[in-house]
Symmetry: C2
Subunit: 313 residues, 2 copies
């Protein structure tokens, strides 16, 4: 039998991402021992029941002791506190990583707590669903998804390579870039889209009560797709917006400028401007499908799912 | 054998919706004869090849002659011209209907062309995908979807009932309301969401070229979902915004006010306001799932689709 990639893998935080890493590591035999820590005792209980960890503890420090790789899977806002607990427990040569959606703030929160004898290699798997908690995870979550690794300048290339190999082994494609660049790209691909989805669902909720119930009833026309995004974990997203403020505000500024232009075209009946804009956006969609980041199946394969539902009922 | 619901059913415009109606009518034996008209000869050729119509013609007038029910499935902006052509051909007792996403403007465009011996019963099936054209349609598109019927005041109840039965027979749930109310509800459930999706995809396209390519690459974080909506038919959507201007501008005004409040919370680091907002939006999502308008499967069943894709490749 070949030796696993990691002898002792510690995962701190057993939410959607942490529990998916544990499951992927177990299914692909990537670690000799998988230790999962979560400060919430009920989550620890679920992790034990689900059986994807060799060891479960409430103490992040205990999980990190003797670990070769420690991955923090907590909301970005909790990073510093957990790092302060975990840092002193890191053994020589250990690598500490994370999965946060914001990398500049995470780097700043983590760096002071990493001892000189350990390595810091932050990472962000661009994958997820709108569900949270240890039951929501699954081993194939990262398959054919990107994982962006953002090592600070001067990081030992061997440590970066180990994190890259771990994510490759879980099915992800790995890209290395600076934390600053990551935060700018993600602001437009993820953070602003989430904010907008949260916002329009909020606008619908503020309507007169009878109108809101009709919005729910007739949501299939587009609104429904936004509610899925707007059902994501509130703590995680609060922290994303608080910690990637500059890039989010910059991209949001561009978004509202562009929206004003479309609004103006509607007000003054400029059909050509609308048509041109709507035609150009189709090209972006094609590029995404061509790059294998989406299935071209209509409506996200909803037909397949609903057909199945019909057949089951 | 029981007699079909309609002797002669004429469908004008063989796009996604028109071709889906023809397929649904054929599959469920709802019409003695299905006639499809499309002014584009290449579309007529595809309709003949696909074989879901008994008769195919480029002339809307010819299709409408002798028809019991005529359904206009053209962009809202084309309604008036097609109505002027079809109106004089309507036989006594015929019903003319449509599938437009805006109902006030359609009613105004259609009404003057309907002779006194015929009935006008506009309708809007709230269903679709991001694809267009006769190849994109399928017979089950309307199953378990809403169809909103907006008869002008004083319409013969028997005519409304025939349109209701036709949509029921294609699997839709039918709701009757005024055109004005329809346009207000759809502005928030469909029109503004589409505008926002078109807008953010446009914002991404305006970024520096290298950044745009990265947005496409890392689109899985939320942006991708918007590109699907922003790939919808540009002509149809241009017409929607031009003809439902008042309601769209009203809802867009509320949306931008709310967005300013969230933007302000981000700028001033008001985490509680963000958390409260993000928590409330989850409730709307739950209501939609409870009302059977969505599957609770994570990520729209993308997992299932992708797994299948993996297995096929």
């Amino acid at each position: 039998m070949t030796r696993p990639l990691v002898d002792r893998l510690a995962i701190v935080g057993a939410g959607l991402i942490g529990s998916s890493i544990a499951r992927a590591a177990r299914e692909n035999h990537l670690a000799g021992t998988i230790v999962v820590a979560d400060r919430d005792p009920s989550v620890c209980g679920r992790v034990r029941a689900l059986g994807f960890a060799d060891d479960v503890t409430q103490s992040a420090r205990e999980a990190a002791e003797g670990a070769d790789i420690v991955i923090l899977c907590v909301p970005v806002g909790a990073t510093e506190a957990v790092a302060a607990e975990v840092g002193p427990a890191l053994k020589p040569g250990a690598i500490i990583s994370d999965v946060g959606s914001v990398k500049g703030a995470v780097l700043a929160a983590l760096a002071p707590h990493v001892p000189a004898h350990a390595f810091l290699v932050p990472a962000h798997p661009v994958a997820g669903t709108e569900f949270s908690g240890p039951d929501a995870g699954f081993a194939t979550l990262f398959e054919n998804r990107w994982c962006i690794v953002t090592p600070p300048e001067g990081t030992d290339p061997a440590a970066v390579e180990r994190i890259r190999m771990l994510w490759r082994a879980m099915g992800a494609n790995v890209e290395v870039m600076s934390a600053e660049h990551h935060d700018l790209v993600l602001a437009i691909t993820s953070h602003v889209p989430h904010l907008i989805a949260y916002n329009i669902v909020g606008t619908a909720a503020h309507l007169e009560e009878t109108l809101t119930s009709e919005v729910i009833k007739f949501s299939a026309g587009g609104f429904r797709d936004f509610t899925r995004i707007a059902a994501s974990d509130p703590t995680m997203w609060r922290d994303v917006f608080l910690t990637n403020r500059e890039a989010v505000l910059e991209m949001l500024g561009r978004f509202t400028e562009d929206l004003s232009a479309l609004q103006r075209a509607i007000r003054y009946g400029d059909g050509d401007a609308l048509f041109d804009h709507f035609t150009r956006t189709r090209a972006i969609r094609r590029s995404i499908i061509e790059q294998g980041q989406e299935t071209p199946a209509p409506d996200f394969g909803r037909r397949a799912v609903e057909k199945q539902k019909h057949e089951e009922s």
